[in-house]
Subunit: 351 residues, 2 copies
């Protein structure tokens, strides 16, 4: 699989000009209509796109809505465990589900660099379509822009999602209380390490793979089991550390995590050690932090472990009275180290 | 005004590194939180953004929804009559209103190039905020990514909008009938010519200005006056010509327009002649095409002329039985010329 992807990201000179994206593909004329009608729409086909004029017409809804937007600029476009297409779908869908919403519709906006191979675009769109089918959320409207060579890097994608609030959403991090328990839904730092290894050509064996995945089923399962949820957050840019700092800021308490139980894959751990990166600050793309009231973590972890994407969920810590620092890591032998908030994380373009 | 804008787009070397966007601003750490909290949120402040977690929580709605997305990659960022910020708001809002929806909420996603002056970002955001206030549509959620120098060109913006269908939306171009009358809401080709002149440093006096503007009031006025509307479309990329070709395709009839009545500003006309561009194919950003049943154009034009943004609306043509071509331009002395559909329009990065 990797070799296929590498051949895509290292285009040979044999690719004909007609197999590449041209500036004219973005200019509203016949070429643009053909690109959209022949290459894009068939992959994403659904009742909304088929009727699309300037805007998609969506069915009436009755509940409260949630809306989220994300642009994806990941480099390389393809990496072990995912690609920019599925990442764009899961990233936006996950932002909706951790807010307590059922994802209903997403939009897809492409910024393409002149000269991009159409085959690469088609691979990405196939991945978008498969991811959208997996989560049952149609791409209802879209946009395509082309910029001259050098004005963007291959493909940037924006996905914006709208969901419906079905159950009562989690109260949010400002509602965290002393004694609340903290869970992480799977091994951390996989996405950032996978993308960085792919980008820098680091040859780990086995290669670290991204955790890019939808969290829809996991959150739905928690809701169906009536586990009381204080807060949910997918730990993307800035990793687990960024979520803990934001939550500590919001509630004014100290969050304490136990380093020895933090789940990690051996290949991710090895790469982090080699590269000198703290996995707590490395991005995830299908892993969330869950806060539940005291005594509820066992049930929450059991529910999460029943779902494929969160089968390795673990309780990692708790909320304590404000102490020496907003976030504290407990090391072996009870040593407590404040967790710094990095000024900026060390990995650009990981999502 | 132009001189201020030029100084923004030609940054002097005197700008300190701290006054520029850094890669770290996009990495989920403290710098990113500060950029968003100190520079972005205060400008766009509203009840939704103040509470924003991963997704904005929107009030319940009862009707059918409409959703549209657009990315903006215009170069230069500032041009006579507008800038990328207001363009991004009006462009998305206009797509909703011509679909018959009342715009309710928009999202704002920024892709920033490392090294961009923060002052430029602030100018753009001030413009986004002013445009959003003008149309009464809050920016409810957002995203900020930073890519390394050279991986994007200054700022790309995605705005995605959600609206509610209030009245019955126009039937759409497939419903166009013989005898239907075609209206254009104002002078054409202004946006494409203004952006191109600014980009190429062409010194026309007076400079051509963009028509970038919201069409909310104009469409609302038509609806309030119960003018029967067959189809509406803002004539953006590909200009008036692209709309006419799409509509002719949809309905299977011939659309005939009278060249002598096409509204144009003298400075736009002069620039088009000098540059050898056919204004029919040049983009607009606040000008729409309206189709109404036979005999209704006089009333529709009168209503449009009562609104500031469409004060120069004109009836330009009609729907006829399929003839020699899908779109026909009537020249002086009744000469009828088929209007070609360009393969790609000649102006990249105009929106």
């Amino acid at each position: 699989m990797i070799s296929t992807l590498e051949s895509l990201s290292c285009p040979s000179n044999a690719v004909a000009a007609t197999d590449r994206v041209l500036l004219a593909h973005g200019e509203g004329g016949r070429l643009m209509r053909r690109l959209i009608q022949d290459r894009i729409l068939p992959k994403l086909d659904n009742e909304f796109l088929r009727l699309a004029g300037d805007a998609a017409m969506l069915p009436a809804c009755v509940g409260q809505l949630a809306m989220t937007t994300d642009s994806f600029v990941v480099s390389p476009l393809f990496f072990p465990g995912g690609d920019i297409g599925s990442l764009a779908v899961y990233g936006t869908v996950n932002d909706l589900v951790v807010a307590g919403a059922v994802p209903r519709w997403i939009s897809l906006a492409l910024i393409l660099e002149e000269g991009l191979e159409i085959a690469v675009l088609e691979h990405v769109l196939t991945s978008v379509a498969a991811a959208a089918r997996r989560v049952g959320v149609p791409v209802v409207t879209g946009d395509t822009k082309v910029v001259p060579r050098g004005a963007a890097d291959k493909i940037f994608i924006n996905t914006t999602g709208v969901g419906e609030i079905a159950a009562t959403p989690p109260a949010g991090p400002q509602a965290l209380q002393l004694g609340d328990e903290l869970i992480v839904s799977g091994p951390i730092a996989r996405h950032g390490i996978a993308v960085m290894s792919a980008r820098e050509g680091l040859e780990f064996d086995p290669p670290p793979t991204s955790d890019s995945a939808p969290l829809v089923e996991a959150v739905l399962s928690l809701q169906r089991s009536f586990v009381p949820l204080r807060a949910l957050r997918d730990a993307t840019r800035g990793g687990l550390g960024a979520v803990l700092h934001e939550w500590a800021d919001s509630c004014g308490h100290t969050l304490v995590i136990d380093e020895s139980v933090l789940p990690m894959n051996p290949e991710t751990r090895g790469a982090c050690e080699l590269l000198g990166l703290d996995p707590i600050h490395v991005a995830n793309e299908g892993t969330m932090v869950v806060a539940v009231p005291a005594g509820e973590s066992e049930r929450a972890v059991a529910v999460l472990r029943g779902v494929a994407e969160t089968a390795q969920a673990v309780r990692i810590g708790r909320v304590e009275r404000l102490g020496i620092a907003a976030v504290v890591v407990e090391r072996a032998a009870g040593l407590r180290i404040p967790l710094d908030e990095p000024i900026g994380a060390p990995l650009p373009r990981i999502c």
